[in-house]
Amino acid sequence: MTTATVPTRPLDPADRRAAVAEPSTGRGPGRRPATTILVTGILVVVAVYFLVPVYWVVVAATKTTDDLFGTNGFLLGEHFALLENLGAVLTYNDGIFVRWFLNSVLYAGVGALVATYLAAAAGYALAKYRFRGSNLVFGLVLGGVLVPGTATALPLFLLFSQLGLANTYWSVLIPSLVSPFGLFLCRIYADATVDGSLVEAARIDGAGELRIFHTIGLRIMTPALVTVFLFQLVGIWNNYFLPLVMLSDQDLYPITLGLNNWNSQTDRLPEFYELTTGGVLLSIIPLAVAMIMLQRFWRGGLTEGAVKA
């Protein structure tokens, strides 16, 4: 049975606006060369500010500990020790760094994927069905957006230790599966884009409610889902307080906790400077590449949320 009489989905407002706005980037008041130079100059100076720490760590990762303290931080040292340093990072303590990295990938990847799916299902249901209690559910979750994440971490630890979940993979993974902000975005987006008559048509075709959500709802909501996924991914990847509270076993650490562990040993053991800078460099690269490549996806759903918030 074909659920897809789907009239080609109407361009969602964000796309349409972008399509109209893009060609007119050259709009606006005259492009005098002096202004262009001034504005671009300001932008360059600001870019230097944002890139300096990253540049520093790239340079620092190539140095030996002696050079790190003996030579200027912005210039290369006498020995080019990048490969030795990275080798040390990857092999130290039986490759614990790789393990931390994979833990982060697991927490952030699985957490963000499941969180997006759950937020989509719940957001779709709140937008497309009128049912008793829907306003209560939405109000409750909206309150959740405003509750500081760290305020729940401590009591969550107390709760999880009673359940015997503290200091396990689950203790970090389970809280990562919930994204109140994601539900908020999904509801707004589903409300604006999933056409009620389309859902009705699918029903008449005999499609079940869950099937309608999975085949029509999810597909139409894709732009918002990508945004929710990225938000949650970065949120979990960057999280520090929750794993810090929950985990005591180093083998379960995500990368943030692991590198902090190395960094805190630098004042006693100088070789940890090299491990820390090398580790920071290695863990920044994949995310930096991802951020820049996926930059355009941060727009779509985000504006919807921002405009109507």
């Binding site: 709760l159 590198l259 918030a309």
Partner: protein, 317 residues
């Protein structure tokens, strides 16, 4: 794809008398099936912990015997834990410190993000995509790593910035002293989140219909006038959103001060409210007072967000 256009009328007639009821129960059940998994996890990770925290904050635990070996009794303590939390001068001071931090850092960051967004969207900017990517990059760097990076740039002996200023101007700035370290933290937070806030504002700038720019130009408005009278009013929702998130974020500040503790003696274990709650819970093992502190932090965050939203709502009318 198109088959259903022909099958639809048939389905509608044959379904006739028995369909509606079955469908109506399906329609009442489906939303709950869709909401249930999210709701269950939300209750487990948000509602229950908040209830636990509130419960704990009103409980006091007394241990009998020297190490509690003769049993532990808990009893309802009214506002005793809140009294203890609020009588702790360091905790109250940490909230005051965050208010000072927020009053300076949040406006600076939001204004910087707005100016950058306006410049990037102006016709005069070259390579806007490249700059946007560079500004947004730090958001992908976890706060912990950002703090490690900046701490290397703050520490005397390691910092190339201090080397450069002492060479050029003959003075060595102290980034980690009692009077300056708060602003060194503000710098890390601004560095991490300015680009992210900028991107939200850019997204809303792109949503402004081009006709508005057109008519502004016809009316003879220059770039300043256009920014002030058209762009700023229209990106207001994005500004409100980013400000509220920044206020909540400020009260949650934890990783930056906790990591800088190792290099800056000016940061004590109660420097920020969250650090204070963490110390109370894990260094003093006093979960009840820590719970009261967590509740207070959440209440202050709520109150400030609410106040800000009220203020912006009123002035828009």
């Amino acid at each position: 794809m198109a088959t259903s256009t022909t099958t639809r009328p048939a389905a509608a007639t044959t379904a006739g008398d028995r369909r509606p009821r079955r469908r109506s129960t399906a329609v009442t059940r489906a939303p709950w099936i869709l909401v249930a998994p999210f709701l269950a996890l939300f209750v487990l990770t948000f509602v229950l912990p908040i209830l636990v925290a509130i419960g704990q904050s009103f409980t006091t635990v007394t241990r009998e015997g020297l190490f509690g070996e003769e049993g532990v009794t808990s009893s309802f303590a009214w506002f005793e834990n809140y009294r203890l939390a609020l009588e702790d001068g360091n905790f109250v001071a940490s909230i005051g410190r965050m208010l000072l931090f927020g009053v300076v850092q949040v406006p600076v960051m939001i204004i910087a993000a707005t100016v950058l967004a306006l410049l990037l969207e102006s016709a005069s900017a070259r390579w806007p995509g490249l700059f946007r990517a560079a500004y947004f990059l730090p958001y992908g760097i976890p706060g912990v790593l950002a703090t490690i990076l900046w701490s290397f740039l703050y520490v005397p002996g390691l910092s190339p910035i201090i080397d450069v200023t002492s060479m050029l101007f003959g003075f060595e700035p102290d980034f980690l002293g009692a009077g300056t370290v708060l602003w060194s933290i503000a710098n890390i937070v601004t560095w991490t989140y300015a680009g992210y806030n900028m991107l939200i504002i850019v997204a809303q700038l792109k949503a402004i219909p081009p006709e508005l720019y057109e008519s502004a130009r016809v009316d003879g408005a220059g770039p300043w006038r256009t920014a002030w009278s058209i762009q700023l009013p229209l990106i207001r929702p994005a500004l409100v959103l980013t400000t509220v998130f920044s206020i909540i974020g400020t009260l949650q500040l934890f990783a930056e001060p906790q990591l800088l503790q190792t290099v800056s003696p000016a940061i004590d274990s109660q420097y920020t409210p969250n650090l204070s709650a963490y110390t109370t819970a894990f260094a003093y093992n006093d979960y009840n007072v820590a719970a009261a502190q967590s509740v207070l932090i959440a209440l202050v965050a709520f109150a400030l967000s609410f106040l800000f939203l009220r203020l912006t709502n009123r002035s828009s009318r």
